[in-house]
C-alpha cells in the first residue's frame, strides 16, 4: 500500500469515528424527554448517521481494494 493510500485510509477511519460519535450523540439525545416533533427530527438525523457510517465504510473498502 502506498503512503498516499495509507493516509487516505487513516483520514476516512477518522471520518468514520466522527460519524459514530454523532450517531451515539443522537442516540443519547433520543433517550431524553423531548416533544414528539423533536423526537421525530432527532430520530431522522440518527438514522442518517447510521447510513453515513455505512457510506464511509463503503468508501474505505473502495480505497483498500486498490492495489
Amino acid at each position: 500500500m502506498s503512503q498516499s493510500k495509507e493516509k487516505l485510509v487513516q483520514s476516512f477511519e477518522e471520518l468514520f469515528s466522527i460519524e459514530k460519535k454523532a450517531h451515539d450523540y443522537y442516540q443519547e439525545l433520543l433517550l431524553e424527554k423531548e416533544t414528539a416533533h423533536e423526537k421525530e427530527v432527532i430520530q431522522g438525523i440518527h438514522d442518517d448517521e447510521e447510513r453515513h457510517m455505512k457510506i464511509v465504510q463503503d468508501i474505505l473498502e473502495i480505497i483498500k481494494e486498490v492495489k
Partner: protein, 177 residues
Amino acid sequence: MAGGAGEVLVSKKRLDSLVVSTNRIARGNLEKRVIQSKGGDELSKLASSLESLRKGLLKRKKSNLKDISVPANVDEKVGELEKMNKLMIGRELKMIELKKEIEELKQGKNIPQTVVDSRYSDGIKLEESVVESLENEYEKMIQASDLKRDQKELIITKLQVLLSDSKRHEQALRDLS
C-alpha cells in the same frame, strides 16, 4: 493745624487697629470682629472689607469642618457604592452585548451561540465540524489521490451525500433550538 495733627493721630490709631486685625486674621484667628468706624473714608471702607473677609473665612472654615467630618459607617457606604458601580457597569456591558446580537439577527447574520439551546449546541458544533472537514479536506484529498477517475467520482458522490445531510442536520438542530 492742631486739629490736623489730632486727626492724623486718630487715623494712625485706626490704621494700627486695622493692622492688628489683619495680622490676627492672617494667623487664622477669625472669632474677633474687626472694629468698624463711622464715616465713609478710606479706612472705614478698608475695615468694612476686612470684616467681610473675616466673616467669609469663618463661614468657609465652619463649612469645611462639617464636610471633613467622616461618618462612622463610611467604609460600608463606599463598599455599597463600589458594588452598585460594578453592577451598573456589568449591566451596561450586557446591554451592549445584547444590542449587538439583536443587530446581527436583524441583519441575518449567524445566530449567536448564546441564543442556541444548550441541548443542541453540541450537535450543531459537531455537524459544523463535519461540514468543514468534508468541504475543505476530504474532497481535495480524493482529487489529489492516485485513485482511478471512476473511483474518485464514486467516492465524491458519496461524500456529497454526507455533506448535504450534515448541512441539513445543522439547520434542523438550529430550528429546534
